[in-house]
């Protein structure tokens, strides 16, 4: 093996032989009897074995040699029991694969920095304090700033290396007749340079592409979009595509793996900020000081910390604020508000993770998933420990022999540990192979937004692989310690005897392991039950109105080339066309789609018999007259919107509002809602003038878990750049979808029908997170149960073997056959019960942690717990069936004779 001499052991053995022969010859020559001479020669030589040993160890690194030997032995043991090996490798593979996949996703979503140059140097500006907006409420802080602030900061910047601004919008991209909605990121010219991004093809946007408004009709494609939509072809350079019906030229493709600043909303294209009106038709906001839409990121100068930069920024910001108050158009404020405004400052938040709306939502479920994966891995380890112990027990006579012959306990333990290590390594390999597929499966369950995709990849990289290796090491320790310790503790005397006593210690440990497995399986089963029930209840409770035969779709005519003034009459025409269809019972429009988890909201001031200011933003929508009827939501007080609630001029003129019961209950407490007036904003300058004309029954929109206060305005009293249509069909919906599409095409073939689906479908999308949890929890629980069953079966089989003599004796003494089987069943029952007992308090503790994710079910729901316990009991019985039958069929004579 590892040696520097080239002599073999055999060569030296031959030399010793020769030496002995020569010595014998010489002794004979000296007069010794030939028979005696050989013995004398050997005596003269001394300890031959020691010579050979010393030769063997010459120039050899002993520990390496032992390692190789142990490895060979372990491999042979693995080959000798293929089924056991396969089960272990598979269990570990699934456990490690799952853990790796989930870690990879969680890493990308929650931990990893943006794939840009030196992400640690990036900071994001955040306005802390009071922002004065144009009339529309001033909840005054956040990461959105007005664009002129960015412009002036950049022009006068002495603090940062460079900075850029960005915002997002959904746009329609058309190539020929084929239009699809995609996510666009609108960025200033310094964007790509500051982030250090390189083009994969052509070039990227620079300063020169961001000088004059509307003068730079060019876009950069994302690498994914280029591959997906354009087949990755080089001829895309210089081609013209239509973005919101404007012709734009493709100048380049960004490097692969770059997804802008928000992984949950990966853009397909990047536009220069000066071209913003293309993406947000009718309003650029580039010169607006009272409105804010831009995120601003900066790269710190080398050697500066963000604290230093923030301090350096302060004087500039203060003078900006003061200058703002002296500009024309500055609204009248109270002393208090002015002071609050001037006291604002710009904080610098770490920018290395960019922007992500999904991250906070996903954090809890991801952590729960990781925890559940940890449990599965633990279970797999217990399983492996159990199976390994089984092997050790099988080989106990050989081990005892080796110990008797002088093998050290350390050596035996090391060998066992090495076997566990090798199995774990194979498991790690299997896991690494399975992880991408598992990752893809999990990704398919994550919530998808409509146009932007999730920039999460089910791929492995160094960090993730390092994690997998670490997990493997952990499993080796967990799963290998017990077998190793047990193997080392095998005492020659008791093991060499044929008695069962020598194996009882090992069996005891195995039983403990099985109890652990059952406990874990129960915990996971209860978890699965809870999440499944949550999902089911959320789904069946729904949003609070009937969703049968209810379809929805969205139109965004501004993006299809319509002018603002033309959209309202267009929407009306579409609505009329829809209502004329024979399959349609009722149709209505809402400016904002429902069940999307967010939308338009503002804090309000309400003037009833007293003046009330809401403590938070209230969800709002603007709806047509038939909206509530279409959904089947009753008006409980006052009236619905009617023909008089319309405004024919362009712009907004909100005069009427309908509120829901929840708002009345929460904020009006006793005051009469009908006739009360409301206004946006919470400042003393709010002038409530919009009259509440009706109260509608509460239903759930942003979240399915509880109703929220809502305010509805009349759709026709404001501008309608886009809206969602809701249609209640008279009967089942196969042809209804097509009829709707045709109706829209009849009005105008250039209109793109977006997100045409049933409201049930939308509900499902909204519940994607819950569905993922329920699905994965169920899979985990099933896995856990199977593993526990295998473990119990193994233990019972072995126990049956050990007790064969005892049972044979009983049978011989006249016990009925079923009682023998009963012994096994009782043993199974004891183990299962013990597992249950341990699991219950553990479930209770874990239940408290996941309570926030549940709905409609307590964390220790009696039915679910009982159901899970019953399921496990059944599994225990099943595992006991075969051993029980075998034991009951024992022939007592055979067994007793076999002693």
């Amino acid at each position: 093996m590892i040696r520097r001499t080239t002599r073999t052991d055999e060569d030296f053995a031959a030399e010793i032989e020769a030496h002995l022969a020569l010595e014998a010859d010489q002794l004979v020559g000296e007069g010794i009897d030939p028979a005696e001479a050989e013995a004398a020669a050997r005596r003269a030589f001394g300890n031959r074995m020691r010579s050979e040993e010393r030769f063997y160890y010459l120039n050899r690194r002993v520990w390496l040699d032992n390692l190789a030997r142990s490895a060979r032995y372990a491999l042979r043991q693995m080959r000798l029991s293929p089924v056991s090996t396969a089960t272990i490798v598979l269990s570990l593979g699934i456990g490690i694969g799952l853990a790796t996949a989930i870690f990879s996703l969680a890493d990308q979503a929650l931990v990893r920095a943006l794939p840009v140059r030196a992400p640690a140097e990036l900071v994001q500006l955040e306005w802390r304090g009071q922002f004065i907006g144009s009339g529309m409420g001033s909840v005054g802080y956040g990461s959105l700033v007005p664009f002129p602030l960015f412009r002036e900061l950049r022009a006068e910047n002495e603090v940062f290396q460079d900075l850029f601004a960005r915002t997002t919008a959904e746009v329609h991209v058309a190539i020929g007749d084929d239009t699809e909605p995609v996510q666009a990121e609108i960025v200033t010219g310094s964007f790509f340079a500051t982030l250090g991004i390189r083009p994969a093809l052509g070039r990227l946007l620079t300063e020169d592409d961001d000088l004059q408004p509307d003068a730079h009709p060019m876009v950069v494609l994302s690498h994914d979009y280029w591959q997906r939509r354009f087949g990755g072809r080089d001829d895309i350079l210089g081609r013209s595509i239509r973005v919101n019906d404007h012709a734009m030229t493709v100048i380049g493709v960004a490097e692969p793996g770059f997804f802008g600043m928000d992984w949950s909303l990966a853009p397909a294209i990047w536009l220069p900020m000066m071209m913003k009106t293309v993406a947000t038709p009718g309003w650029s906001g580039l010169d607006e000081r009272r409105a804010r839409f831009a995120h601003v990121y900066a790269r710190l100068a080398p050697g500066t910390s963000s604290a230093q930069a923030a301090v350096a920024l302060e004087p500039w910001f203060k003078s900006y604020l003061r200058a703002d108050t002296e500009r024309e158009g500055w609204p009248p404020l109270t002393e208090h508000q002015l002071a609050a405004y001037l006291a604002s400052d710009l904080a610098l938040m770490p920018g290395d993770h960019g922007q992500s709306r999904l991250a906070p939502q996903l954090e809890r479920p991801m952590l729960i998933l990781l925890a559940a994966t940890g449990l599965i891995l633990l279970l797999a380890c217990l399983n492996v420990a159990n199976l390994s112990l089984a092997r050790v027990l099988m080989a106990r006579r050989a081990t005892a022999l080796r110990t008797a012959l002088g093998a050290s306990r350390w050596r035996i333990a090391c060998e066992q540990a090495m076997e566990s290590g090798l199995l774990a390594a194979c498991g790690c390999l299997a896991g690494a192979l399975l992880a991408p597929a598992l990752g893809r499966g999990i990704l398919s369950l994550l919530p998808q937004t409509t146009a932007g995709g999730l920039a999460l990849r089910p791929e492995l990289d160094l960090r993730v692989l390092a994690f997998a290796v670490a997990v493997t090491a952990l499993t080796t320790i967990l799963a290998g310690t017990a077998p190793a310790l047990y193997a080392a503790s095998i005492r020659p005397l008791s093991a060499l005897k044929l008695q069962a006593a020598g194996a009882l210690g090992g069996l005891g440990i195995r039983k403990l392991l099985v109890v652990g497995q059952f406990a874990l399986a129960l915990v996971l089963l209860i978890g699965a039950g809870l999440f499944a029930r949550t999902l089911g209840t959320l789904r069946s409770d729904g949003p609070g109105y009937a969703t049968t035969n209810l379809l929805m779709f969205r139109l965004a005519p501004r993006n299809d080339g319509y002018e603002t003034e033309a959209t309202k009459p267009l929407m009306q025409r579409v609505l009329d066309e829809l209502e004329a269809l024979p399959e349609v019972a009722q149709a209505g429009i809402g400016a904002w789609p429902m069940l999307e988890g967010g939308g338009w909201n503002n804090p309000l001031t309400i003037e009833a018999t007293g003046r009330v200011v809401t403590d938070r933003s209230i969800p709002m929508n603007a709806v047509s007259a038939g909206f509530f009827q279409t959904l089947g939501i009753p008006i409980v007080r006052g009236r619905d919107f009617g023909a008089r609630d319309a405004w024919d001029e362009p712009g907004w003129n909100l005069r009427s509002a309908i509120v829901n019961e929840e708002l009345v209950e929460r904020y009006l407490g006793g005051m009469e809602p009908i006739g009360a007036r409301l206004d946006f904003g919470t400042g003393p300058d709010a002038d409530p003038s919009i009259e509440i004309v009706g109260v509608v029954r509460s239903f759930r929109d942003y979240t399915l878990r509880k109703p929220e206060p809502q305010v509805f305005f009349s759709l026709w009293e404001r501008s309608v750049p886009q809206a969602t249509f809701y249609i209640r069909g008279r009967s089942a919906t196969e042809t209804l979808a097509r009829s709707l599409r045709d109706a829209v095409q009849r009005v105008d073939p250039a209109l793109t029908v977006l997100s045409l689906r049933s409201v049930d479908d939308q509900l499902d999308r909204m519940l994607a997170g819950e569905r993922m949890l329920a699905a994965l929890a169920t899979i985990f629980a099933a896995l856990a149960t199977v593993l526990a069953m295998i473990g119990l079966y193994g233990v019972l089989s072995f126990s049956a073997e050990l007790r064969a003599r005892e049972i044979g004796l009983r049978l011989a003494l006249g016990a009925p056959r079923w009682s023998a089987g009963g012994l096994m069943v009782r043993e199974a029952g004891r183990l299962t019960a013990a597992g249950l007992l341990i699991a219950l308090p553990v479930s209770w503790v874990l239940g408290r942690l996941v309570e926030s994710q549940l709905y409609g079910v307590g964390s220790m729901d009696a039915m679910i717990v009982a159901g899970a316990a019953a399921a496990l009991a059944a599994v225990g019985l099943l595992a006991a069936a075969l051993p029980a039958r075998r034991v009951a069929a024992l022939d007592p004579l055979e067994v007793l004779r076999g002693e």
């Binding site: 010793i16 030496h19 002794l27 030589f45 001394g46 020691r50």
Partner: protein, 124 residues
């Protein structure tokens, strides 16, 4: 025939033999190549059984010397046509022998002076 003395502790023996066995082997080989058994016999004879208790302990020294390339080995035939592995001195071995012999001589002389082995004062 070798007589067995009291078995000495192994560590003792090694410490004793490490330096001396090497030079004894080199010395033995100066008269020509020899196989292991012959070297053992020769050392036994010339040192009067003091320095070699069993032949087997010769071999670590031989293997060490071979590794240092002071001797080289090859299989050959002995006088009575037995196959044996013969060792012979290399040039470097010859030089090493000269150095070692010199060192021993100086050591013995110095020790002798210190212990008064050559003086007439003790009257021995």
């Amino acid at each position: 025939m070798s007589t067995q003395h009291e078995p000495r502790a192994d560590t003792d023996r090694i410490a004793l033999l490490q330096g001396t066995l090497d030079v004894l082997i080199l010395r033995t080989l100066i008269f020509g190549s020899q196989h292991g058994q012959g070297i053992a016999r020769e050392i036994q004879r010339t040192s009067g059984e003091v320095l070699l208790v069993d032949h087997g302990s010769l071999y670590p020294a031989l293997q060490r010397l071979e590794a240092k390339r002071w001797i080289r080995a090859a299989w050959g035939l002995s006088d009575n046509n037995r196959r044996a592995r013969f060792y012979e001195l290399t040039e470097e071995g010859r030089e090493q022998l000269g150095r070692e012999t010199d060192r021993w001589r100086r050591l013995v002389e110095a020790m002798g002076r210190v212990l008064g082995l050559h003086s007439t004062e003790t009257g021995r």
